[in-house]
Amino acid sequence: MTLYEKIKSIYPELEDKDFVDVICLQNDSDGKGDYIAAWNHPSLTKPTNTQLNSVV
């Protein structure tokens, strides 16, 4: 499951348009995978690693 899918699972109300400037996911092609580069959502808090890891 991708990071995008995990976040959408935690916050189903998020729309795809949120994943550009409000929430920015990034992959630097360095083998470390996807990560949250910016989280600027006005009401939803950035999910913790525990939350993300609990999504299967």
Binding site: D16, F19, V20, L25, Q26, S29, A37
Partner: protein, 178 residues
């Protein structure tokens, strides 16, 4: 040494390396400066994705692994590890990138990152574009500044970054010294 007309000098028999010096008048004083200081000897590059196609995750800005070079005049482009252009001459460079995607996309963006952060965003289209671009003028300090090309696609299923020089490439050249 007696004065000698330039027209009487022998022609260079090998390409200039850039380390040769020429006299130039600066503030009324004649000084020497290396050929490499002239814009014509400044870095220029053209890199591309040679293959295979690079996997992309939906809704995620992903650095394009530009693993081949058409030319790289001063060895300033890293096409094996970090896929970035780090020019060694300070100045202003025109940087351009193009990205091809294979899948059916609902939104695509091409972005130039400078020193790890988004710097220019080109096409930002809520459409199934298979080819999109970004370009801009970037200042480099000639030592630590670098740029990279990032791709964004929003899609269901899969969409990969297309390999092939005509689809996915990143180019740049100095247009003015610092």
């Amino acid at each position: 040494m007696a004065d000698k007309k330039i027209s009487a000098l022998s022609s260079a028999t090998t390409p200039l390396a850039g380390t040769e010096v020429v006299p130039i008048v600066q503030s009324g004083t004649t000084v020497k400066t290396p050929v490499s200081a002239f814009t014509g000897y400044s870095p220029a590059f053209s890199a591309y994705r040679a293959g295979p196609n690079q996997a992309l995750t939906t809704a995620t800005f992903t650095k394009v692994q530009l693993n081949a070079e058409d030319f790289d005049t001063n060895n300033c482009f890293d096409s094996s590890t970090n896929y970035r252009f780090t020019p060694t001459v300070a100045g202003y460079y025109q940087i351009s990138g193009s990205i091809g995607l294979t899948g059916t996309n609902v939104r695509v963006i091409a972005s130039i990152y400078k020193n790890g952060s988004a710097y220019f965003r080109g096409i930002d289209a809520t459409a199934n574009l298979s080819q999109f671009t970004v370009s801009g003028l970037v200042y480099f300090n000639g030592s630590t500044d670098y740029v990279e090309l990032y791709a964004y696609g929003s899609f269901a299923g899969t969409s990969d970054i297309s390999s092939g020089q005509i689809y996915t490439y990143f180019t740049g050249a100095m247009v003015r010294s610092a």
